[in-house]
């Protein structure tokens, strides 16, 4: 079991070193991609074999070496830890990474050859970093992986370095997540100090648990884009679309959720921390969902949607159900990666990110459109699709723990999800296109990985039982009132979007909105909806967007600006004149000497 795990972790780094060390291979372009993808697929096979081999409820298997001595016992260790949680996450990461790398072979084909080599080298490095984090035997190694994925994210967001906006986005992502990481680092130090260990299970009740848990959660908020630290994620969409699918939808952003799942004993020990987690998650669901409603860039819609869905996972954790969190994480990885890849195919075909410039893709890009719709259905949570099961499970967990505030927010988020997904689907795929275009084509190498993900997005609900088993919990699907409510709300949001945006376009999806449609056609509600929509929801959505751009973003910018301005001013005390420099020395001497005289006076005459 350990050799397999080691292969899953170290295989990609071998790939990376191969690409980094052999310039010939790196510059060859697609050959580099094939090597990298082959390594990823090999680790996928290993990860699946590993996962199947893990007995539900078995004790974790750990192999590690001492890394850093520290007055007696080892301060840090390196190694792998195989248990249900890491095996599930490892398999999900390997799967999405493989799919994305294979897809990239087609998507990136038109880039320059050295760029392709560079891209795949970073991809391999990312996979290694992520698996280092996933299989980490303790918090310290996880932190190392955590920092490394941050670095890869920075490099991959800035991949199109010619674009100033991409460069800016990369820096911003680094800044915001770094800020959060400092919380995590402080948590680490606090943990080492108070608990004396970096072990996952390490916990000490009382205020320490709360403090450490909140600091760890601050790190998780940064990486998992939780309000108000989510501002970097939409900007991160400047990176290539497959990168968005892998890092910024399926795996890296989920690392925060994974981290909380791993340090679960800590959170369990602190009711306060759990409440904070639940509220932050629920608020993120709604804020990000509202913002997604008014985005024109298809990737931005998906990015805010990712924030929002991560909010569900976090809220589920806050409700005390890591199983629900990890379950939704898995399903979300499938369908959100699928959505991004399909959106990438659309962007690739029409050379624009704007949904208003797409239109009519259903006719011209049949395959990718169908795949997008599958992903959309899973995202909305239409009954039978994967998202339906895991989202309901999360809602159920919130209801069971009587967190009614977050529950209400999360339920509202379901309607918002239905709306913004419906809007994208209708506008980009069914509306009459601005200009006619012929049949567009998606290469097979891109279609196959999407199809695999689509199948998983449909049947992902079946994974609930096994995942719960591996985590030592339980999951049985059963119909609940909150599940039914959620379904109705989702359909309502979808219907509303269809009705508003599908007016002159095709009414093909109107059947989905049939329940709402009957009322709508009555004419009376017509105006009411129109008004409510214009005056109410849209204003709120725009306000959320405005708040995001000018207040949350603005505060970040203000901090950066004032630091810059402050240092510009401070610069002037460096006058360049020797008398001023010497003055500083002498004045400091006087002050220090005065301190010495005062402190020496206190114990005058005594001998130690």
């Amino acid at each position: 079991m350990i050799p397999l795990a080691l292969f899953v972790v170290l295989g990609p780094v071998a790939g990376f070193l191969l690409l980094a060390g052999l310039p010939v291979l790196r510059r060859s372009g697609l050959a580099a991609g094939v090597v990298s993808s082959a390594v990823a697929l090999a680790t996928l096979v290993a990860a699946i074999v590993l996962l199947v081999g893990v007995e539900p409820g078995a004790a974790p298997v750990i192999a590690q070496i001492d890394w850093l001595p520290h007055q007696g016992e080892a301060f840090a260790r390196l190694g792998v830890r195989v248990d249900g949680t890491s095996a599930v996450m490892g398999a999900v990461v390997a799967l999405i990474a493989s799919a994305v790398q294979v897809y990239s072979l087609g998507y990136m084909a038109s880039e320059g050859r050295p760029s392709i080599g560079r891209y795949f080298a970073w991809q391999s490095l990312f996979l290694f970093s992520m698996q280092t984090l996933v299989f980490a035997p303790d918090l310290l190694q996880a932190f190392l992986g955590w920092e490394l994925v941050g670095l890869c994210s920075y490099l991959l967001i800035g991949f199109y370095y010619q674009k100033p906006s991409a460069a800016k986005a990369a820096v911003k992502a680094f800044w915001v997540t770094k800020f959060a990481d400092m919380g995590l680092l402080t948590g680490l130090v606090l943990m080492r100090w108070q608990v004396g260990s970096f072990a996952w299970e390490a916990v000490q009740p009382g205020w320490t648990a709360t403090a450490i848990a909140l600091l760890v959660f601050l790190g998780a908020m940064g990486k998992s884009a939780q309000f108000p630290l989510h501002v970097w994620l939409p900007d991160a969409m400047e990176g290539p679309t497959p990168v968005s699918a892998l890092l910024h939808a399926a795996t890296m952003v989920a690392a925060g959720v994974y981290l909380v799942v791993r340090t679960w004993p800590l959170f369990e020990a602190s009711g306060v921390a759990l409440h904070v987690v639940a509220w932050v998650g629920a608020i993120t669901v709604v804020v990000a969902g509202l913002t997604a409603m008014v985005q024109d860039d298809i990737k931005k819609v998906l990015a805010y949607s990712t924030c929002s869905q991560l909010g569900y996972m976090v809220a589920a954790l806050g409700a005390g159900s890591p199983v629900a969190g990890l379950f939704h994480l898995t399903n979300h990885a499938f369908f959100k990666a699928l959505l991004f890849l399909a959106a990438g195919a659309a962007i690739h075909a029409v050379h624009s990110n704007s949904i208003w410039e797409m239109g009519g893709l259903w006719r011209s890009l049949k395959g990718a459109s169908l795949l997008f719709l599958v992903g959309a259905a899973a995202l909305i949570g239409l009954p039978g699709f994967s998202g339906f099961f895991s989202k309901d499970f999360a809602l159920e967990a919130l209801a069971e723990s009587h967190l009614w505030g977050p529950f209400a927010l999360a339920l509202g988020g379901v309607a918002l999800t239905g709306f913004y997904v419906g809007r994208v689907v209708v506008v980009a795929f069914f509306r009459r296109p601005a200009k006619e275009r012929g049949r567009l084509h998606t290469p097979l190498v891109m279609t196959v990985p999407m199809t695999v993900l689509a199948v998983l997005a449909v049947v992902g609900g079946l994974l609930g039982g096994p995942i719960a088993g591996w985590l030592g919990g339980a999951y049985h699907f059963h119909v609940t009132p909150e599940g039914l409510t959620a379904t109705v709300l989702a359909l309502g949001g979808l219907g509303l979007a269809t009705w508003i945006y599908g007016y002159e376009g095709g009414r093909r999806l109107v059947v989905l909105a049939a329940p709402a449609g009957a009322f709508i056609r009555s004419g009376l509600l017509d105006r009411f909806y129109e008004t409510a929509w214009r005056q109410g929801l849209l204003v709120v959505a725009h306000a959320a967007g405005w708040f995001d751009r000018y207040v949350v973003d603005g505060v970040m910018n203000l901090v950066a600006w004032s630091v810059l301005e402050g240092s510009e001013r401070t610069r002037r005390i460096q006058t360049g004149r020797i008398p001023d420099y010497v003055l500083a020395v002498v004045v400091a001497f006087v002050v220090l000497a005065a301190w010495g005289a005062v402190s020496g006076m206190s114990g005058c005459g005594s001998t130690p």
Binding site: V587, V590, A594, A597, G600
Partner: protein, 166 residues
Amino acid sequence: MNVALFVVVAAVLLAASISVVAGRELVRSVLWLAVALASTAVLFVLLHAEFIAAVQILLYTGGIITLMLFGVMLTARITGVRIAVGSAGRVRGGLVAVGVFATLAWGILASQGTIVAHEPLDPESTTRLLGAAFLTDYLLPMEVLSLLLLAVMVGAIVLARRRDPS
């Protein structure tokens, strides 16, 4: 008697030092420094450190003053002997200097009596003991110092040499 001598020498020393830092003419400042260093040597004799006093006169007063005058001549157009030196920020400097003195004096006065006086060294044997100390306990700093002096000499010559021969 000694107390009176001390007061006189201290007054001369202080006055000379003030002239060094406050005078308006560089060459005079250098000469005032010579006076200050020489009166310090008298102070050393008062403290029965004759050897140090001798070194002070020979190496310090002689060497430093020569060097300084040399420096003054090198860096001034030697048309006139008067080289005016400006001072700036006198108020600022004066305040800081008063602060320095106040702090140090406070520390010194507050520590009165903490230093226990011992039997003074026998002035006759001091010089001999000094020589022995340099060859035994203080041989290492002596050797390190010689390396430093070598380096400084070579470095200063290279720096001050007018131009690279190449």
